[in-house]
Symmetry: C4
Subunit: 312 residues, 4 copies
Amino acid sequence: MTTPRAPQTPSFDPGLTQQYTGALLRAINKDGTFNVKRRGITRFAESVYTQLVSISWPRFLGLSLLLYLAVNTVFGLIYLMIGPDVLHASERDSGLSDFARAFFFSSQTLTTVGYGSVFPSGLAANLVASIECAFGLAAFAVVTGLIFARFSRPSAKLIFSNRLIVAPYREGTSLQFRIANQRSHVLTELEADMLLMTVETDAGGQPKRNFAELALERRSIFFLALTWTIVHPITEDSPLWGKTREDLERLQAEVLILIKGYDESFSQVVHARYSYRWDEMEWSARFLPVFGVSPAGHLVLDVSRISDFVRV
Amino acid sequence: MTTPRAPQTPSFDPGLTQQYTGALLRAINKDGTFNVKRRGITRFAESVYTQLVSISWPRFLGLSLLLYLAVNTVFGLIYLMIGPDVLHASERDSGLSDFARAFFFSSQTLTTVGYGSVFPSGLAANLVASIECAFGLAAFAVVTGLIFARFSRPSAKLIFSNRLIVAPYREGTSLQFRIANQRSHVLTELEADMLLMTVETDAGGQPKRNFAELALERRSIFFLALTWTIVHPITEDSPLWGKTREDLERLQAEVLILIKGYDESFSQVVHARYSYRWDEMEWSARFLPVFGVSPAGHLVLDVSRISDFVRV
Amino acid sequence: MTTPRAPQTPSFDPGLTQQYTGALLRAINKDGTFNVKRRGITRFAESVYTQLVSISWPRFLGLSLLLYLAVNTVFGLIYLMIGPDVLHASERDSGLSDFARAFFFSSQTLTTVGYGSVFPSGLAANLVASIECAFGLAAFAVVTGLIFARFSRPSAKLIFSNRLIVAPYREGTSLQFRIANQRSHVLTELEADMLLMTVETDAGGQPKRNFAELALERRSIFFLALTWTIVHPITEDSPLWGKTREDLERLQAEVLILIKGYDESFSQVVHARYSYRWDEMEWSARFLPVFGVSPAGHLVLDVSRISDFVRV
Amino acid sequence: MTTPRAPQTPSFDPGLTQQYTGALLRAINKDGTFNVKRRGITRFAESVYTQLVSISWPRFLGLSLLLYLAVNTVFGLIYLMIGPDVLHASERDSGLSDFARAFFFSSQTLTTVGYGSVFPSGLAANLVASIECAFGLAAFAVVTGLIFARFSRPSAKLIFSNRLIVAPYREGTSLQFRIANQRSHVLTELEADMLLMTVETDAGGQPKRNFAELALERRSIFFLALTWTIVHPITEDSPLWGKTREDLERLQAEVLILIKGYDESFSQVVHARYSYRWDEMEWSARFLPVFGVSPAGHLVLDVSRISDFVRV
């Protein structure tokens, strides 16, 4: 668990392309998504489920409400089409128009509340109502299943220090960043991977994206109870050996971070991605401690100080 | 992660049989299923759940509707059997036959819409209605649970290049194919396995199916953000070394592809299978790039060009 | 994936005990459960959920029905206790006793069918009804959740050959058994472990249970499309080397089988356990093939012939 | 599977901090939680889902009831605000106040029981009722989803012996503790890790928390059918070599235990944590057996004797 992995062959493709086609935006956005657009696929190929699970809450609830109104309107119109008297009402002079009565009857049927103040009469209306309430039960179950899926999705809420630091380390220097768990549930068996992406010129004089794994002092920890400082020692084997701030800017360096762990509250493996570009690095600095001890003897972690560092 | 696995002993059984019994269809179909039929097991041994989850949507919905009608018919007949007057109706002259009234009352009970325009009267009818609505609640929950299970099932929608290409590679050649993710959700920790299936003659002169793993330049990638070109270098260790197009046809060669990855949207591991036969290989070709850069600096992947190649 | 694991130190405890306390029944039953009883724990410590998920269908449905009747009886009595007239009924002369009316009103409330032919009147009855229907919704959801959990549980339905065979193998012999998948869904990434349990006398002359891993020719296969014959070569390293049928009886030998695989239909890892005792072994035999080719060129697996062997 | 892991470099951070800041409480509580408080994060950042899934049953049910009453009160007030006559009631003189009638109508709508003894009249009341019952269906589904999630959560109920024992082992001594599964469902593929946490003085004379992995005789077992005695042999490589009881007290030694396994009933990986401090260790003792054989030949495990030991 402690041995850093052997340094990789300097160039490989971790899943992005090596081909260089001009100045690019960062590879990984601050929210962990990739800066990639795709063409040639219809929106239809996407899973409806994952779309509905990942859109924002206001959009989701708006969509649900719209659907509810649309379905009631459609069924309301069907009842009107069948005939003016297929819906019996306890009170005729309720001030509701025929359409409003049909619309509300539809909603009472769809939700199976079925007050009975309005009820279907005749074969056709009964048949439509019978199908509507079966459909309603299924539709509501799916919508609420989606609601449930939305807020029971596992998600790591890791906080990353906002700088990548070149810090003193034993006799030399190292690249360091720090993470903390924003939530109180425990993450176990954390693993980190660190990749350096640069733009270099290949043998043929062609600019090319270059990827290299950065060996870590410790690739995994047992649990994330406090913070974890992830350390890449800049040894002679490191692709960063001898590089200056100016070198990294010229190479358009971006350090890609991949973290996974097991979230006990969700009983699932969760992933997080992050990246630091050359202009988000701090040279010759050191992280400040983020915890103390309470009078009662508890360790106290102050998550808000995760990014605090001091120049050395 | 980068070291290709050592070449395997030339013949082993990956889960299909080695015994050769005449000309066979391909081992893996284009949709990833195996070309195997089974006998000696009753349909009953199958899990009802997996059957209901994997049949097509029209069949599933048709089946549900049929079940709904059947249950209502059965309960309707039970009410009729109990007696003509066990169902009280607000309006006697609704133009409904006794059976239709019983049928619709049953559907109002099963779905728990319960308008009350018709209601049970007497001990027997009340008892049946009381059981019907409890059964209805359970049945609808199961059906909608199935609906939800159906469209929340994880599934990789990988697109494979439609040709397997023998491409120039360093000083020699290599076998290559390309995949892309049809969906926008991210796949991480992808792993690929490539197997060569051939029919060869064993020591006793008996034709026999032969399996060999094809060592890959890179067995796994961190994430599938764009495309992944999977490369088997045809070195001296490769079972394809020195083989020609005619050799592969004679050997009825089929290259089996197994891919797995972690789908973040579904928080689950997903699998894909594919295969290329000798007549789906392209000799001396090279894949064309499938992406460019948008004016805003985003990488743009054109999934529709995944199979594009040029002869060299 | 192909290298058999190095032979283990001859004695270790895989999770059963090494202590020998007289003649025992087999360690693993034919249905995969362990032959262990436990004492000193209250039934209460068990998870209610797992109990309800694992009892038989008749017991589960009987229990649910009983609960339904009990809850309705309790609520019915509460309504009666509040007063004789708290339940208004559309028809007074329905032939129902006061209790029956209260019981059926309760069931109409619990299931939320709410015909309205009987409805609560006054503060107390309304309050109780209001709580009953909220409780009913929750209770039904849990019951149906359990129903769903019951039949969506992943389970490998592997068929094991009913004999463990000592078969010719290269120059020597080997221990072999065969499995097939009873269901049509694909299992991938199968792994097998084989353990030998014997009763031997230790240095102090004390009888003691002994466990040894039996190295397999191939510990894992990519997928289980047909059958898998699991082979332990009886080499000089094997604890079975030189052992006769009589030796194994004297040692009360039991071969424990542990198999796991990934079930694509359930998207989950499934496990199976099995064991063969010395009297379920067949010496000098060979399995017969279990498949042929259909006229259309499909491989056809005959699962019913999985145990067929011939003496050699 | 049997080789104990090589001893680690003596000091590393497994996820707690190495910085020493005075006398601390134990690192891991007896219920497996970490003794860490956090500051600088709003309660809001926590996942609502995990909070609702992990609070106690009384709090959860109280909260649900409160929400139910609150929602009905709010909707009841809305109906009153719309006007005095928007709710038609079958009986005017039921002894209910206007608010009580509105409140109970709201509960009948929210739960979709909809007796119809009270029903909405006019556009505004119908509209509100139509939205309330849709909202009610969704809300109830979420609440019952939570109930289901609460009691279907996988959780290992492992019992740990209440002492960590320094027991005779081969020629030397070893550190031992024992676990048993409190539930009857089978745990497979168990893995254990044992860490020693001490407070030592570093080169600069600064007190510092020190962590070291304790190599285990056997890190994993195939299944937990009876008990598992986890053994750290105190060899010359062990950080405990030559340490006395007084040494461990001075070092404030705490042995951290991490266990994971696969729970077949839940089809999920479960984790357990535990720790023993220096004052929970027993020197020169031996565990007593916890099982016998029933007359029928079954192994019988007596879980209540898991902690029984004898001094040697």
